[in-house]
């Protein structure tokens, strides 16, 4: 194998499908050769290293962010309700305080007790779901009033003519 590879040209050996049969040393050598060829062909400008300083001045051409200008569609006294809705949507500045309140309220929106109550009823409804049809009536009666079930057996009532 090694003797064969000597005869093959380097260009052929560099091909992908030839790489499998190569041993580590020739592989390494080939790689180095390739690197050298690439770096020889690589052009670069002989310039002093350009050092980009961080730009500390940001330019802003518009007045809108500077003066916190509002959106340009305005309607008064309900002349155009659509635009009045838009005004609320596009000018959120004034509602900022309200929003904060909302957030704080949202955090305590559901108290622990409320959650417990909610789950309590959930348990019942799940229980109902898994109960069989006949049992369901019993379950609901039991839940609702704890009334002992009356022992009326259901019988077919013949309709009167």
């Amino acid at each position: 194998m090694a003797n064969d590879s000597v005869k093959l040209s380097k260009n052929l050996l560099r091909m992908k499908f030839m790489q499998r049969g190569l041993d580590a040393e020739t592989k390494k050598q080939l790689e180095e050769d390739e690197k050298r060829i690439i770096s020889d062909e690589h052009w670069y400008l002989d310039l002093p290293e350009f050092k980009a300083k961080e730009n500390l001045i940001i330019e802003e051409k518009s007045f809108v962010p500077c003066e916190d200008l509002k959106y340009g569609r305005i309607s008064f006294k309900g002349f155009n309700p659509e635009v009045e809705k838009l005004m609320l949507l596009m000018n959120p500045k004034e509602e900022e305080e309200e929003e904060e309140e909302e957030v704080s309220r949202m955090q305590t929106d559901v108290t622990d007790e409320e959650m417990a109550l909610r789950y309590e009823s959930l348990v019942e409804s799940m229980k109902k779901k898994f109960a069989k049809k006949r049992e369901r009536a019993a379950v609901s009666a039991d839940v609702n009033s704890n009334v002992v079930e009356s022992d009326t057996k259901r019988v077919f009532l013949k309709p009167q003519d």
């Binding site: 961080e54 730009n55 500390l56 001045i57 940001i58 330019e59 802003e60 051409k61 518009s62 007045f63 809108v64 962010p65 500077c66 003066e67 916190d68 200008l69 509002k70 959106y71 340009g72 569609r73 305005i74 309607s75 008064f76 006294k77 309900g78 002349f79 155009n80 635009v83 838009l86 949507l89 596009m90 500045k93 004034e94």
Partner: protein, 263 residues
């Protein structure tokens, strides 16, 4: 302009920015002229004790960056907003487009897939027919020559043709697009437009008490007014046009007289 007589707490920060900041801050509220400049002296000495993150300065309209210096390019009053935004408050009537601003344009040419829109600037802006809410290649928006469009600049710089769109980044119109039927369009100074749109605007709160009406305010100095009758529309347009050169007191007096039905 030096940092010597600036407030003491800024001296503690061993940042190079301090020199420029205080120089700028001292001039806030003063009249500056084009050509005035603030140099941004970067000290080569770096403090070893603390690593100070350099602060960024935002220079708004009327200020220009040139290398490390800040140049004034419009005459006016220097304004400042926390934390470090500076701009020139100036009066002008010529509109220069800026990215993101909303303007009232008039469609002048309809050619293939773009409309040409006059917005009062040096050049007409292009507006793609696809830049409307719900527009597709099949479903073209109904825009005619002479229509008014409320639209937003997506490209606005000194080297390129400005480009407008009639929707936001999520593809919704949000009040932009073709409008205007039975209203009146007129022009005012750019300063008045900014006064109208500023939060807690006195002019608007005065106007609010008159009649039910609708306004479209373009940053290019164009105003469009619609009200329930032609007379009321004219009254509002005349009021707004005269507001430009009035003090708050004069304005309130005039508005009161209108509200009483004297005009």
């Amino acid at each position: 302009m030096g940092p010597s007589n600036s407030n003491n707490n800024t001296c503690e920060r061993s940042c190079c920015r301090v020199a420029m900041f205080s120089g700028l801050k001292e001039k806030v509220g003063e009249v500056l002229l084009p050509g005035d400049e603030f140099s941004l002296e970067t000290d080569d000495t770096i403090s070893l004790t603390e690593h100070v993150k350099p602060e960024k300065v935002v220079c708004g309209p009327g200020l220009r960056r040139s290398g490390d210096r800040l140049l004034v390019c419009k005459s006016g009053v220097l304004r400042h907003k926390q934390p470090n935004m500076f701009w020139m408050d100036s009066q002008q009537r010529r509109y220069v487009p800026a990215k993101g601003e909303t303007v009232i344009g008039i469609v002048t040419v309809k050619s293939g897939d773009v409309f040409k829109v006059d917005f009062g600037g040096s050049e007409q802006a292009s507006l793609s027919y696809l830049a409307f809410e719900g527009a597709t290649k099949r479903n073209r928006p109904n825009v005619q020559v002479g229509d008014l469009v409320f639209s937003q600049f997506i490209i606005a710089n000194k080297d390129m043709e400005p480009e407008l769109v009639c929707m936001d980044s999520s593809g919704r119109a949000n009040g932009m697009g073709v409008f205007g039927g039975g209203g009146l369009l007129f022009s005012v100074s750019l300063g008045l437009v900014r006064r109208l749109l500023s939060p807690h605007s006195g002019v608007l709160s005065d106007l609010q008490q008159l009649f039910p009406c609708e306004l479209v305010v373009g940053m290019n100095g164009r105003l469009w007014v619609k009200s329930s009758s032609v007379q009321q529309t004219l009254v509002i347009s005349n009021l707004l046009q005269s507001c430009d050169t009035m003090t708050a007191q004069q304005r309130q007096q005039l508005f009161r007289r209108v509200a009483q039905g004297a005009l």
